[in-house]
Subunit: 194 residues, 4 copies
DNA sequence: AATGAATGAGCCTTCATTCAT
DNA sequence: AATGAATGAAGGCTCATTCAT
């Protein structure tokens, strides 16, 4: 069975398994063995490829962020005009890929991990900065200098919706979350005199 | 040496020590021994009083919620008129008592705990419902049926600000968070045609 | 069964068990579990009392050194005159207590440990310095300035005999080793012109 | 790329790498992977050539012994007369080749290994017997029947010096060790009446 | 009321070794 | 000839929890 070039395959399998396992368990109290088993290999191999537990977590986190970033990029490419672009960014966050229980659980736990791990903290900051600049970039043409604060609020509400969704396990209504953020967007755009 | 009435004192000390320890460690990977030591007693005694680790966590969580609730109550009592009351509720969330690193870390971790523990989940829902109804209660006189959605957005932004604050450890700017939520409130109130 | 004041008893049992286990296994590839089992307790308790494997080793090493030191001290106390004292020091090293397979194996392994552990190195140096100064102290009255080098040779032969004894497991002839060192001593004392 | 005659080269590289690695680590807790990497090959290949870890150790040990034996042989060849020959044997042990930290560490660890491995034990005995007979062979013409015991003492001091040198890592003074053994030799030769 | 004593269970990690290519 | 892939086994260590005092 052993083939060559297994490394990327194994790594990908482990990253996905990590997300799934965190989703299944609900927190970061996840054993390397469980992740490895879910990925169909021994825990020793997982260590061989990643070096340690934290690095497995970080890789999984990067994976989630990468998927999210790709989704945003695609959505932006298809959008026409600033308003459509902002809406695209918002909708991407609540897409079926990102708004699933497993992924939400992973995000939430990554926030916790970020309190301890410098690397995790950095990754999350990258995400936040990117979201912020995406929003500002398209808000500015429409509302000028108020774009900065508006972006903070919109991003804040997105995260808040995520957080709250983490609680209501199972009954996730992505549509509602999306609508609330879009409603906020509408207000921000209409609100001439702040 | 004292023999009578130690229990409530011990329990209170343990709850506070739990918050502190979670804040210090940054996550729920907190040992009962560490908590007990911080509270100045043996871990065996901690078990004796609370029965187990999860129950210690839950008690700490209730404590945080209780403190928060008291703060809101006091703020509401001092406020005059619906607008002032809403502002009071918002400000309470970012008060110096609740917006400290330790407490934020505790909150964040309770969200994670709520994904596993039914009791924790219930407690967090109580908090959310209370916040929601507080907001709706005073928004309705001003904006009628739009109060429901507005409350969802405001509460969402409050939670989102908390979440984001958990990341920017140390550089907490409660004022900014408060301002952003108040700005949202202003928009919600002004926004006649939704 | 749990009593109070168990700590010193447990610690002593662990130290002895460590010596025995090293002797039985023949090297430092000794598991904490095996030591603990030999001492009649769980490995967790061993960790509780000593903190870790290396510290268990060091404690055992100190124990061996302490026993040796006590034996030397007693022997010195009973000896009359410089010559008798030196002979006492030499004989102590090959006493039935110190020249047993277990203890020899332990010594040999401690030498290895001393190459890695700073603490172990220090302990062994203490032993060497003490032996050296003991020898010099009583040699000097008899052979003056030649005492230094004579002491180096005598101590060296003592250690060498130990080393060689480590190989000939089982067939330990303490008497021969002692005789050889005493013979060296005789030469050192007689050798007027060096 | 080469295909023929690689085996002896690979084996030699592994033996040397083993010595180096033991010297670097300070004990026998040396991984096959580390040895193989140092020798520039995969650990699988190391197993392929030697069969297992212990056999790698034994091969390295034989290598050390072989180098030592060659050095002694050369020295003996150049020496004229019994006294010169004995001195040559002594000096060989403390030659720059054999008295280096790496090699000393290896020797020391081989002594430990000899307590467990029958093969290692045998190898070390071969060394000891050879040293002994070398010494006796040239001592006998000079001091007759006293040669046996003198050889034991000289060999013992050589080993003891080695052992002590293992401790004083870095500050190796081969000259002093040599001088002490030569001084002992002088005494043994002069000492008419034992 | 309070604690030292004690442990079973479990996790991360390492490593020698094997196997297919 | 040589190696990447893979794993079983084991070890050190931690921790929640229990118990006798």
């Amino acid at each position: 069975m052993p083939k060559l070039g297994m490394e990327p395959i194994r790594r990908a399998a482990l990253m996905q398994a990590t997300i799934d396992e965190i989703g299944a368990v609900g927190n970061l109290d996840v054993t390397v063995s469980a992740i490895a088993k879910r990925a169909g290999m021994s825990s020793a191999l997982a260590h061989h490829y990643f070096g340690g537990k934290e690095q497995i977590f970080l890789a999984a986190m990067r994976h989630v962020l990468r998927v999210y970033a790709a989704e945003v990029r695609d959505a932006l490419r298809a959008a026409r005009g600033p308003h459509a672009r902002i809406e695209a960014v918002i909708r991407a966050g609540f897409s079926s890929t990102n708004f699933q229980p497993d992924v939400i659980a992973a995000w939430l736990n990554f926030y916790v991990l970020a309190q301890t791990s410098e690397d995790a903290n950095r990754l999350l900051h990258v995400y936040q900065r990117r979201l912020h600049s995406n929003l500002v970039h398209d808000l500015r043409p429409m509302i000028g200098e108020r774009a900065e604060n508006a972006a903070v609020r919109i991003a804040g509400l997105i995260d808040g919706s995520y957080l709250r969704q983490g609680l209501a396990r199972g009954t996730g209504v992505a549509s509602d979350a999306t609508e609330q953020v879009l409603a906020l967007l509408a207000m921000e755009l209409k609100d001439i005199v702040e």
